[in-house]
Symmetry: C2
Subunit: 187 residues, 2 copies
DNA sequence: ACCCATAAGTTGTCTCTACAACCATCCATG
DNA sequence: CATGGATGGTTGTAGAGACAACTTATGGGT
């Protein structure tokens, strides 16, 4: 534990506990549900799907590893391993960045593009079936606000904020502490 | 699906996409955040914490594997592996169920009890810091309702439905949105 | 009493993730 | 124009999850 000793711990009350228990269960169940759907239908994991999705929308179908990591909420080591596997399956290519020889650019191949186009309908259907269509429009917008608040707080280091913020309706989002100036907000 | 027998391309509109992208990011970030906090502080994963929590509140500090699996939203194979590892670390014990010789009862050891008591304060602090205290009370109750709706749907449509069929002493097969459900984390 | 379908767990294997150590490059400064 | 610190990525390894195959036990039907 970080610090302090026998200080009174702020326990959760019933209401808070009810919320947390459900959220925790959801964190456990939802990813694996979507994961296995994608795996069966298109032989990609949910995370790989996001990698494909981000690349498919990037200019030139390519992104530097660190930008891609930020947009997919992943650590760089994890992304590196994943991209390597995806490369061996012909979904992406890695090439050195001419501008910065430390950097690597991951580029979507035609096969990768075909794969996400094949995977998308089923995935969207699953997201609808398990999430979007279950909630009322009002609940959906509540959920957006809630997730947004949580993410903003978790993102002390910033960076991945750009990923979801570009999917905003009209710009309802302006975060002053966004240091990701090197990122792309074009779209 | 809901209405409009459109089997074609049920794409998400901007609002829905905004919600889903945030939820997906949250699904990626929150578990690993809480996981690594628990690991550093008490050398248990989030999932193991839940196992300990469920057992610590069970009568006799023990539960059958399938009941434990249901309460932790896990599959039986996964739970079996986890419990085996936890047993090797002295946190739980496994003993055959005298009533049903197919069944195994996982029982919390004194060491396991000590471990969760050691882990709880830091974990609760983390849950507060990253989730509960970030949201308004109103948002928290909205979140409860939302998660509840999603879980109810996932449970009945998911593959683990079979595993929930068996509730012996506690027929809460349908505990709906009752916030005072018997599901407690140690808190 | 005997089958056979089903339930409860376990195990094996392969994939994926986390963490830390590591190498290479860039760049600001003297 | 060397050099120390930061930045961008990769890799090794060990731990954790997914899935399928398997074992043992239960229970209902005939």
């Amino acid at each position: 534990m970080p610090h302090d000793g026998a200080v009174d711990v702020p326990w959760l009350d019933r209401t808070q506990l009810a919320a947390w228990v459900r959220v925790a269960a959801l964190l456990e169940v939802l990813p694996s549900t979507l994961d296995s759907q994608l795996r069966r239908d298109a032989d990609v994991t949910l995370f790989e799907y996001f990698v494909l999705a981000m690349l498919s929308e990037a200019p030139g179908r390519g992104l530097r590893m660190s930008d891609l990591a930020a947009q997919t909420s992943a650590t760089l080591p994890r992304l590196s391993h994943v991209v390597k596997r995806m490369e061996s399956r012909g979904l992406v290519e890695r090439r050195p960045d001419p501008d910065d020889r430390r950097a690597t650019v991951a580029v979507l191949t035609d096969g990768g593009m075909a794969r996400i186009e094949q995977a998308a309908p089923g995935h969207v259907r699953a997201v609808r079936a398990h999430v979007v269509d279950i909630l009322t429009p009002e609940q959906l917008s509540q959920l957006t606000a809630i997730a947004d608040a949580l993410l903003r707080h978790l993102d002390t280091s910033g960076g991945m904020a750009a990923m979801y913020r570009r999917y905003d309706d009209d710009d309802a989002a302006d975060d002053a502490d966004d240091p990701s100036s090197g990122n792309d907000i074009r779209a």
